[in-house]
Amino acid sequence: MHWLGQPFKERSTLIFLGVLLTALVAVTVLHLVVPQGHPLYVSAYTVNLFGKYLSYALLAVAVDLVWGYLGILSLGHGAFFALGGYAMGMYLMRQIGERGVYGHPVLPDFMVFLNWDSLPWYWYGFDSAWIAFPMVMLAPGLLALVFGFLAFRSRVTGVYLSIITQAMTFALMLAFFRNEMGFGGNNGLTDFRDILGFDLRSDQVRLGLFLATGIALALGFVLCRAIVTSKLGRVCVAARDAEARTRFLGYRVERVQLFVFVVSAMLAGVAGALYVPQVGIINPSEFSPLFSIEIVVWVALGGRATLYGAVIGAILVNYAKTVFTGIMPDAWLFALGGLFVLVTVLLPKGIAGVLAYRVRKRGVTENDGKEATA
């Protein structure tokens, strides 16, 4: 377990965790202690919004793990996110019980509507959190395992991999749009009520979900950092920069790639599962290629291969999205498109790159000063 302690020796990780914990505490205090109407009061709506951003941030960390350190540009991570979300959604759906519109004790509303008389086999067990919550990680993990095994074994890399991951999420989107799939078709899963017996609509539960997402983000971040700083992480970076050479040095590159890819998919699944109870719906649009590629631009804006950059990027872009779609919805796609172009052309290392450059420059001037005095 030595490798798990490694991240805590890094200054950047400690700063990140410090900032994240401060933010979580601050939002909690501002929500609970400050009276309503006060300018510093954080409403339940805002807490919920922050919780959504944090789940996106965890997703971005997962994408950065494969893109930044493995050099695999996955345009299909939205699929893993959505699968985790669907697993959670199925659990939440079963928790509705007899309170649905049709009042059926077992079948969710949409199945009654489609005249189904029994639950499909893959819905069995999802009424229990003991099965549903592990499935949040297992379902995307399994898909990543099969897909990654096939892809990495035959050394599909680079642009080809990007395109077939995009095709994968596109195919899944088409599949989930079908009513026959038993996942609510076009409308997806919605009208959730309880999670683990708590009412999803109460403010306390929303705060709880926000905090849970924040903690999940912290844990995910530490896990990714640990992988990256371990020996395995070194092989990852080596494979990213010179795949053939790493292979010739005797490393089984495809196994390393597969392992990291599956871990990343599972993290994305967790992010999706935390996202769904906070927004209250999951539908096939999460599988859309546009969403997956949007995640990549969060990471690109924040800065590849830093992990904390991914978090910054995800929060910034999504905050901008909330603001833009509020004031002028038409301009959002212009802004997003422009962001894609500007980041790739002008900011290849993202915001984290700029920050690191500043720090390094200050360090250099300090050193210069020391040398001068010495």
Binding site: A151, V156, G158, I163, A171, A175, G337, F340
Partner: protein
């Protein structure tokens, strides 16, 4: 008051004086006698009168019989004049004169007597009307009429058709009439007639044979069954041909969409995610041209071929100069940046033109279909698009193989530094190649505007498919793109009937994903030095 009374009196006199004259004029018309013969109480006499009218070769006969069938041929109670009621709703009905077809003003419905018919007459009228066109001058009219007769022949018609077949000069019409008669005969249990039905794919023929095959007469049933099997066999072939046609048509659309990518992605190695949006620009160019030239959709379409190419090529050059040239050698970043461009272009169209679909008119010479036989007809617009795809493919092939530009493109992609030291201006070649690939996307858009809706999402729906085609066919290989596009189209169409459209698409995507695992470099991988790049 006195003046009014005076005028009324005069008018009455005039009218009375004119009426016998008008009646006299009508008496000269042989039509009057024919119509008179219809106005009788005995239905047998009416039946005879209908036959007389049908055989009279009077040009107006068709209209009379039709209106008689509809109950609109009526007679004025007072004047005895025959009129055709145009609209029998309300109290006063507008009518025209049955002989001259001139306007007869509005007549109160109390003043009119309908020439009544019963069910037997109705049936007779229908069959008479079916054959009346068989005497028409135009062979097309006669053919259409003969087609309608399939399965409709009855005892009264059978005799007259037999005579008609002898007189009919047109072979096709004769064939149809023979079939129509044969159906009647088969239904009456004549085994020899089955032979005349052999090879026909018309559904009516199939129904007749099916019924005959189930009959009690073993000989008739046997020969009908044999004929039926023959037809079923033939139909299967035709259905396969239809699937193949739709598959090839879909495939040619894929080829059109992917072949521009094969140039920019395959040859230059640039991932252009905005390729679909360049297609969209081509489609919108077609729409704009039709707006500029209202009333001439055909001319506008032809003009939009060069226009669409130019618009898309210019847009492509703009993208290359403003974005792609800065990202040389970083394919993943190029992918992201061009995706951003695609978002901007889509939103631009939404904001400037409309988020709704625009309608592009299909010119007359492209609509309709080519009827090969009763079971197989090919829609013309798809046929044109297939031809267009082929022309574009051959054109691109020639450019790449036979022109200086093609040579330079291949030189630059194989070894940029070497090509430059040989005096090739690599940057210029980049621009030209990208313009070519983009222009072809514009051409694809022009073609697509004839098949699907033109809207801001047009490109998006093709981009994944196009990349699949290029990757499946093997990057950098135009032949591979052609084979891959056509075969994917056909596979999709073959799967569709038993899997449904969405599932077929998913299966094709999964198939390609698996295929790439097996052969990462596509169907036709590049060999030799080109493969190293």
């Amino acid at each position: 008051m006195r003046i009014t009374r005076f005028l009324t009196a005069w008018l009455t006199v005039l009218l009375l004086a004119w009426l016998p004259l008008a009646a006299l004029a009508q008496q000269d018309d042989p039509g009057q006698a024919l119509l008179e013969s219809l106005d009788t109480r005995a239905y047998d006499d009416k039946a005879a009168a209908i036959q007389t009218i049908a055989a009279s070769e009077d040009e107006r006969a068709r209209r009379w019989l039709e209106t008689l069938l509809d109950g609109k041929l009526q007679r004025h109670k007072d004047t005895g004049r025959f009129v055709i009621v145009i609209d029998n709703s309300g109290r006063n009905w507008p009518a025209i004169d049955a002989l001259t077809f001139e306007d007869a003003g509005e007549i109160s419905r109390r003043d009119l007597d309908r020439i009544g018919i019963n069910n037997a007459l109705r049936n007779q009228l229908r069959s008479v009307l079916a054959v009346i066109d068989l005497y028409a001058e135009s062979a097309d009219v006669r053919l259409a009429s003969a087609m309608r007769l399939l399965g409709e022949v009855d005892e009264t018609l059978a005799g007259s058709i037999d005579d008609l077949i002898e007189e009919e000069p047109d072979a096709e019409v004769r064939r149809r009439l023979t079939q129509a008669l044969a159906i009647y005969r088969v239904e009456n249990g004549e085994t020899e007639a089955v032979e005349a039905l052999a090879g026909s794919l018309h559904p009516r023929v199939r129904v007749a044979l099916g019924r005959a095959a189930a009959s009690d007469d073993p000989i008739l049933a046997q020969s009908a069954q044999a004929g039926l099997d023959d037809i079923e066999q033939n139909l299967r072939i035709n259905r396969a041909a239809e699937t193949l046609y739709f598959g090839l048509s879909m495939g040619s659309v894929l080829v059109l969409a992917a072949i521009g990518l094969a140039i920019t992605f395959g040859v230059m190695g640039v991932i252009n995610m905005a390729h679909g949006e360049l297609m969209m620009l081509g489609a919108y160019t077609t729409w704009a041209m039709q707006q500029l030239l209202p009333g001439q959709p055909g001319l506008a379409l032809i003009l939009s071929i060069p226009a669409g190419f130019l618009v898309a090529a210019l847009a492509g050059v703009a993208i290359e100069r403003s974005v792609i040239q800065f990202l040389k050698g970083r394919p993943l970043e190029t992918l992201l940046a061009t995706f951003g461009v695609s978002l901007i272009l889509q939103q631009l169209v939404r904001t400037v033109i409309s988020p709704l679909n625009r309608t592009v008119i299909t010119p007359e010479w492209m609509s309709g279909s080519l009827v090969l036989n009763d079971a197989l007809s090919l829609t013309l617009n798809r046929l044109y698009v297939m031809g267009f795809a082929l022309v574009v493919f051959v054109g691109l092939m020639l450019i790449m193989r036979r022109t200086r530009l093609g040579l330079e493109v291949r030189a630059v992609t194989q070894n940029r530094a070497m090509a430059r030291s040989m005096g090739i201006r690599a940057t210029r070649v980049d621009i030209m190649t990208f313009a070519l690939g983009s222009g072809v996307a514009g051409l694809a858009g022009v073609a697509l505007s004839q098949l699907t809706n033109v809207g801001p999402n047009l490109g998006q729906s093709y981009i994944i498919d196009s990349f699949m085609v290029v990757v499946f066919g093997g990057v950098g290989n135009l032949w591979g793109t052609l084979v891959a596009g056509l075969s994917l189209g056909v596979i999709n169409q073959v799967l569709e009937p038993w899997a449904g459209a969405v599932l077929a698409k998913i299966m094709v995507l999964v198939f390609i994903i698996l295929f790439i695992q097996k052969r990462p470099r596509g169907l036709f991988p590049q060999k030799g030095r080109a493969a190293e790049g």
